[in-house]
């Protein structure tokens, strides 16, 4: 929502473009059958299209709106998502605009009780977290899509019908000029929390709704404070409630504040009430200058997911598959990981590099990641928004104690964000028990500093073997269907981080998760691993 007199797209800092439906001779091909159709061009749908394009696969991307998201919404992009953006060739504008951060501070009744820092260091190319408004995220992904000939983007196009069959789907699409049908072998549903595809197929999310409701408001102001996430518990401006404050680019500040159980939602969302509430928060943090109200919205904390993210030829990615509480900043980041995960797998299947069974690893990997978020987010949500008397008593006890005892303050640590480990996935091999350190198969590949840049710069264009022995490197490069090979010095920053011996090797998947590792690798073992991981029958 926006202040009176301003339309939904009338922002104080962002110029919304306007996109027309397909025009000219493109219209003669609207019904040409496609391998992959993607519904929803939010960040998740766009990452899916770019990931498929990287594998050389064309897609049609269908979006009912004529522009980007109307507000800032998801603003925290995690390190792993930056790695994904880099692998898609979309990183540059993100890096130039987003605000990186490592630190959070929690306050109880005005006094700081905790300062936490997320893991970071010289071996990491990217900061643990970056703040950037969702419409910029969409704009920068769109720039990458616009220069990519493999993505057929169709704005102002609404899916009005869906038939599913064993060999694909038939969509009915309506745009301002006509209604047409589109056959696709595969459908990716990236159409958000209220997914029409999900509803049409009669599928339901299951899980829990929490009571807590938050108003999120963006204001523009010249506020002198670093990019540090602030959480205010029981502050003077909202007794008994919780407030979160994040800095975004363009002098925009995100203020989230909790509504009390008795507060009426429509009253809380009126412009005057939002202005008064924001003014009180700003008073609490000692800001007395001018500010502009930009945009506001409301959310509640839910942990809801589909039981299976795949239904025949349809895959659900992002919010259409799962809704997570925002406290773990996993909504956008998990959606990006979903899109990337199914994108490279479907790409390799359609390219003939992998068998179709690879696709069955999508649900266990990504639904597993969702359930992991639920477990962490449920803890955070209980702290931010205690669901009952008992939880509230203990939360308040911990906050009070934290003024003098740091261990209690740690209970307020949101434990944001480590990428999920796909242990036990069919697309990951068993660990080599010889390793004493490093990271196990299924985990995100650790980054390391090289003489010229970072290890992560050398990964992500397919399967990559990271090894330290030039003889092995040469043998693997000659294998049929060989992975890319990155041969590093031993000893080095990388060999220490990976716990590697001179003959060790890590096989890294296109999504930068570890597929397999060997303490003492051989070309034969790597060839056998590639065969297993590709699910090829031949």
């Amino acid at each position: 929502m926006r202040p009176a007199g301003r339309s939904e797209l009338d922002s104080v800092y962002f110029d919304y473009p306007h996109f027309e439906e397909p025009a000219g001779n493109r219209r003669a091909h609207l019904s040409d059958p496609v391998q992959v159709a993607i519904v929803g061009a939010g960040p998740v749908g766009m990452v899916a299209a770019l990931t498929l394009a990287r594998e050389g696969i064309r897609s049609v991307l269908i979006e009912s709106k004529s522009t980007f998201n109307d507000g800032s919404r998801a603003i925290c992009i995690a390190r792993q998502s930056f790695h994904i953006l880099q692998s898609l060739g979309a990183l540059e504008p993100f890096l130039a605009k987003a605000l990186g951060w490592t630190t959070g501070r929690s306050f109880y009744r005005g006094r700081q009780i905790l300062e936490f820092t997320m893991p970071d260091g010289p071996s990491e190319k990217f900061r643990p977290m970056y703040n950037l408004q969702q419409q910029y995220i969409e704009q920068y992904l769109w720039q990458a899509i616009d220069r990519n000939p493999l993505v057929d983007m169709r704005w102002q196009s609404r899916v009005t019908g869906l038939e599913t069959g064993p060999d694909g789907v038939e969509l009915t699409v309506t745009d301002p000029q006509e209604t047409y049908t589109l056959k696709a072998e595969w459908l990716l549903a990236a159409d958000g929390a209220r997914s029409a595809i999900r509803k049409t197929m009669g599928l339901k999310l299951s899980g829990e709704n929490y009571e807590g409701r938050y108003v999120i408001a963006d204001v523009q102001m010249q506020h002198d404070y670093p990019t540090i996430r602030r959480a205010l518990f029981d502050p003077e401006c909202r007794p008994g409630g919780t407030v979160l404050i994040h800095k975004q680019p363009d002098d925009i500040w995100r203020i989230d504040y909790q509504l009390g159980p008795g507060e009426d939602e429509s009253e809380a969302l009126s412009e005057q009430t939002v202005r008064n509430s924001v003014a009180r928060v700003l008073g609490d943090i000692g800001y007395s200058g001018d500010w502009d109200l930009e945009w506001w919205s409301i959310y509640s904390a839910n942990t809801l997911a589909l039981d299976d993210y795949r239904h025949g030829r349809v895959f659900f990615i992002g919010d259409s598959a799962h809704i997570v509480p925002i406290f773990g900043v996993r909504g956008l980041n998990n959606g990006i990981a979903d899109a990337h995960n199914i994108g490279w797998k479907l790409g390799r299947v359609l390219n003939g590099l992998a068998g179709e069974d690879l696709l069955d690893s999508y649900t266990p990997e990504r639904r597993g990641a969702t359930l992991d978020v639920f477990a962490n987010a449920t803890k955070s949500a209980r702290f931010m928004t205690p669901p009952s008397h008992g939880w509230r008593i203990m939360r308040d006890a911990a906050l009070g104690l934290a003024l003098e005892h740091p261990f209690a303050g740690e209970l307020a640590n949101p434990r944001q964000m480590t990428p999920f480990t796909y242990a036990g996935s069919p697309a990951v091999l068993l660990d080599d028990p010889g390793f004493a350190g490093g990271a196990a198969p299924g985990a995100a590949m650790p980054d390391a500093a090289l003489a010229d840049g970072f290890l992560s710069d050398r990964l992500g264009s397919g399967y990559t073997l990271v090894c330290f022995d030039s003889k092995l490197s040469g043998e693997v490069a000659r294998l049929p269907g060989a992975p890319e090979v990155v041969c590093l010095d031993h000893p080095s920053d990388a060999s220490r981080i990976l716990g590697a011996a001179p003959g060790s090797a890590y096989l890294v998947r296109p999504d930068l998760h570890i597929a397999a590792r060997w303490l003492d690798a051989s070309a034969g073992g790597i060839a056998a691993a590639m065969k297993t991981l590709n699910f090829r029958k031949d």
């Binding site: 709704n209 929490y210 669901p387 009952s388 939880w391 911990a398 209690a408």
Partner: protein
């Protein structure tokens, strides 16, 4: 611990609850528990003691609102 030691703890808690008063007495007792548990340094022992105390209150139904499904 001698009887007079536990008596001293008993009295300190009683006067403490009165000094804090409602509505924060619950929070005060919870803080004491967290501090004692940390000092005890034994998760299983702490959980067992909490459950021992809970048993004194019988099989009361859960009164806390479960999250809406």
């Amino acid at each position: 611990m001698r009887q007079q030691d536990i008596e001293a703890v008993y009295e300190e808690l009683a006067t403490g609850i009165d000094r804090v008063g409602e509505p924060d007495a619950n929070i005060f007792v919870a803080q004491v528990c967290l501090l004692l548990a940390r000092e005890l340094g034994d998760r299983d022992r702490a959980l067992d003691l909490i459950r021992q105390a809970l048993r004194l209150h019988g099989d009361k139904p859960v009164t806390a609102p479960a999250p809406a499904r």
